[in-house]
Each structure stands twice: as C-alpha cells, then as structure tokens.
C-alpha cells in the first residue's frame, strides 16, 4: 500500500521578468560601475574598467556605491543608474 510523504518546502510566488535587450556595440555608451563595498571590490572593478577601456570607447564612466553588500541596491540607486547609463558593470564576490 503506498505511503504518504510530505513536502516541507512550500510554494514560491514567481514573477516572470524579461532580460534587457543585449547590445551588439558598446562604443559610445555610458557605463555605470557599481561598487558593492566589499573589501577590494573597488580595486577589482577599476582594473576591469581599465581593461575594457582598451577596447571600448565609453562616452561616460559613472561610479556608484551600494550602502552595504548584504542587501540589494536601494531602489532609488537602481533608478538613478538606469536613468543615467546604458550598461552596468557589477561584481559579486567575497
């Protein structure tokens, strides 16, 4: 006789989101660089910007900083980045 088992995980309400359109040419774009304030995050990001800038001519490079690396960026920071830039460079690390 079959035995009943229980799933303790519960449901997740899923919001379907679309990915932003991928760009083919990055020349002339405004680049946002978001520092998550982790130790050495700024050094890593600055080095990546130098390497990218050897191949891509960004029209602007705008630097931003999160309040803490333990939480998502504040909604107003994300809005600011989206309104004033075309692409964003972020890093997740420890």
């Amino acid at each position: 006789m079959p035995q009943r088992v229980y799933d303790p995980k519960g449901l997740v309400d899923v919001l379907t989101k679309q990915l932003a359109r991928r760009l083919e040419n990055l020349d002339g774009l405004r680049l946002a660089v978001l520092d998550n304030t982790k130790w050495n995050a700024a050094k890593l990001l600055d080095s990546v910007v130098v390497l990218l800038s050897e191949k891509i001519r960004f029209s602007q490079i705008n630097r931003y900083k999160k309040e803490t690396f333990t939480k998502p960026a504040a909604p107003e920071l994300i809005r600011d980045i989206a309104a004033n830039n075309d692409i964003a460079l972020i890093a997740i690390a420890d």
């Binding site: 035995q3 088992v5 229980y6 303790p8 995980k9 997740v12 309400d13 304030t37 333990t70 939480k71």
Partner: protein, 377 residues
C-alpha cells in the same frame, strides 16, 4: 523505488498529495531529500500535521511569512510539517512561529545571513513563563544537549531555513565552515537563577509576557574564571575573550551576546553592579589596537574601509569591539555551579537582532505587511 511526480501545494486549491511505494523506508527517504539536515526526522502523518495546524490557530493555507533567499511561502501547514519533522511537540509551535516572524523582519536581514560565507546562525533565546510551560532548559547544559524543547525548536527553525528558505549548504548557503548551531541553536534564559531582572524585562516587556530574541551568532567562546570573585576580575576575563581580531564582531562590528553563568552573575550583582554596569564596563574595556586590526599595514595602506569613520586610524588607537554598550546582549544562563560564562560574537553590522512577543493565543495575526520582499503577516 518508484515515486509519484512531485507537484507543489497550491494555496486555496486542494492539496496535492505525495506518495511513495510501501517498501520505501520513510526515514531513508526523508534523509535523502536535498533540504535534509543530516539527522533522522519524524515522518509526518495527517493527524500530527493537523494537530500542529490547530496549535497555530487553524487556517492551514494562511501564510505566516516568506523565508529567504528562496522566498518560499510559510503557510501554517508547511510550518506544521517542518515542526513534526523536527520532532517538536504541539506546544512548541507558537515559539517557533514567533522566532520565524522575528527572523523575517527586514532588520534581521535573513536573506544575507542565509547566504553568507561566515558561519553565523540565528541564536534563539526565550524568556518568560513559556519556558517552564513547555519544558525548556535554562540550566545545566543549556546549549546542549539533552532537552527536547531546546533541541527541536532550534531544529525546526533550521529545517524551515533549509526547506522553505532554500538555504541548502553548497547551493544558496555558502558558509565556509558553518558551526554546530546550524543544527540547532536555542536556549532559555535562567531567570530564576539570575540576580537581575530577565532580559526581556530589561527590554520593556512585562515579566509575565513570553518573548523570543534572535541574533545572528557564532558559536559560544567559553570564559573560564575560577579565581576572581569581584566584578572587575570576572569581566576582565570576558573582555579578554572579546578582545581578539579573529571574530566577526571585531572585524565587522554590530551586536554580540554575553551569556553569563549564574555564579559569575551573582558575584557581580553582590557588589551592586547592574546589567547596565556590566555592558558599560565590557564596552569600555574591550577592544583591539588599530595596529593589531590592520596587521600593521602589512597588506596595504587602506585597512577595512567599512570601519566607522569616527575610529582613529593611528597605530595605538583603541578600536572598540562594539560601538555602544547596547550592542552587548546580556543573558544569565546555565547551571548553578561552575564559574563559566561565554562570549558569543555576532555576524557584523549587517543585521539588527529582534525581540518579539510569543503569541500563544490562537488568534490570527494582523494584516500582511511586506518590505524588501519579506512579508510578515
């Protein structure tokens, strides 16, 4: 072994049931699930789950909160299943629920704690009459082992964090080391043995109220002092345990806990010292020099740009362990004999501990409120 395809439960729909063949060993089946904590569970039955739902106030599809980082909905039925799996009695249910509601308040930052590479785990401290009513241990071996209430309440929290929250080691839980408190980490304050008013009374609750307090915590660091019989001598040992560069409170600030053994607490209180005196002394006389914390600039000029700007960056400047005495959460715990206390470092200034009353009535909580994606209902 064959198994019916798993389908999720649906709120407001008829529950989807899961079945396995009769020759399946249920203990082994549950142990093989990705959310398992490595210990055997109590297989739920319809009667056990129904009893837990009743203890929570009925309404099995009522969503108490959502558990990050998976953001699974913790319905009363899902909570009941986890309570049974953990080995809880029905009378533990309101305590576990209160603790989960506290942990999902935005300031506790459970989302980040679940994913952190640091070892911290939620430490639950219970105050008030509920401790005795449900048979918790506040005395000898308060941190374990041997008490069902302490063990299974703490375990239920972890099972929810694993299953509903998805904080599975190696997947979303990236802790490098973990610590034994990630199996269970739940104590009661020894209010009867304490020379001071209970912690929750110090925080403004009435003695007859029961509360849960949750803090993200490392494991306890024993403070042994069998020599001193005065406040300064005892507390200098505690301050010594605090004053290392190694634990996360020294590196990242934030709150921490001091658990004071009964003998130590009574000796300190006999000199007229209050809880506040103890916190102030420890805040003032613990710390590291900037030179120690920065490794003498051996690894570069800039040390830890997250150190508060009001800390002087000269070599012999004292950097306090906690920014203010209120960040030291003091409890009296443990057996009547033994001159031991413990320092419990926290996780950092990333989270604020939460104290919350336990709702032991069966009335449904207030209307939902959602902040930062966490909904407490």
């Amino acid at each position: 072994m064959s198994q019916t395809a798993v389908a999720p439960f649906h709120s407001n729909d008829e529950r989807t049931e899961l079945w396995v063949d009769d020759e399946v060993d249920l203990s082994e089946w549950y142990l093989s699930q990705p959310w398992a904590d490595g210990l055997p569970v109590v297989p739920p039955t319809p009667e056990k789950v129904a009893a837990m739902v009743s203890a929570l106030g009925g309404e099995p599809q009522f969503v108490e909160c959502k558990i990050p980082p998976r953001w699974g909905s913790l319905t009363r039925e899902v909570l009941a299943i986890n309570l049974v799996l953990a080995g809880c009695k029905v009378e533990y249910a309101p305590v576990v629920r209160a603790a989960l509601l506290a942990m999902t308040e935005p300031q506790f930052n459970l989302n980040a704690l679940q994913a952190s590479t640091h070892m911290a785990a939620p430490l639950l401290v219970v105050n008030g009459p509920v401790r005795k009513a449900i048979g918790m241990n506040a005395g000898c071996n308060v941190f374990g082992s041997g008490n069902r209430a302490n063990a299974t309440i703490g375990r239920a929290l972890r099972l929810v964090m694993l299953s509903v929250g998805g904080g599975i080691p190696g997947e979303l839980d990236k802790a490098t080391l973990g610590h034994p408190g990630k199996y269970t980490y739940c104590i009661a304050e020894n209010e009867e043995g304490s020379p001071w008013a209970p912690y929750h009374v110090d925080r403004g609750f009435a003695p007859e109220e029961s509360t849960v307090f949750v803090i993200a915590a490392e494991s306890p660091h024993s403070v042994t002092n069998h020599v001193a019989n005065d406040p300064q001598g005892i507390l200098d040992s505690v301050a010594s345990a605090m004053s290392t560069i190694a634990h996360n409170t020294a590196v990242a600030g934030g709150p921490c806990a001091i658990v004071m053994g009964v003998e130590h607490a009574k000796m300190i209180a006999a000199e007229g010292w209050t809880r506040s005196d103890v916190r102030n002394y420890l805040w003032m006389y613990s710390g590291n020099t900037f030179d120690e914390l920065s490794f003498g600039h051996r690894y570069g000029k800039v040390y830890n740009r997250n150190l508060p700007r009001w800390c002087r960056r000269t070599p012999d400047s004292r950097i306090p362990i906690v920014a203010r005495p209120e960040d030291l959460h003091l409890f009296v715990v443990g057996g009547a004999a033994g001159r031991f206390s413990a320092f419990i470092p926290g996780w950092g200034n990333y989270a604020v501990p939460v104290i919350r009353p336990i709702d032991t009535s069966k009335a449904a909580p207030d209307a939902p409120s959602c902040v930062d994606g966490t909904c407490t209902l």
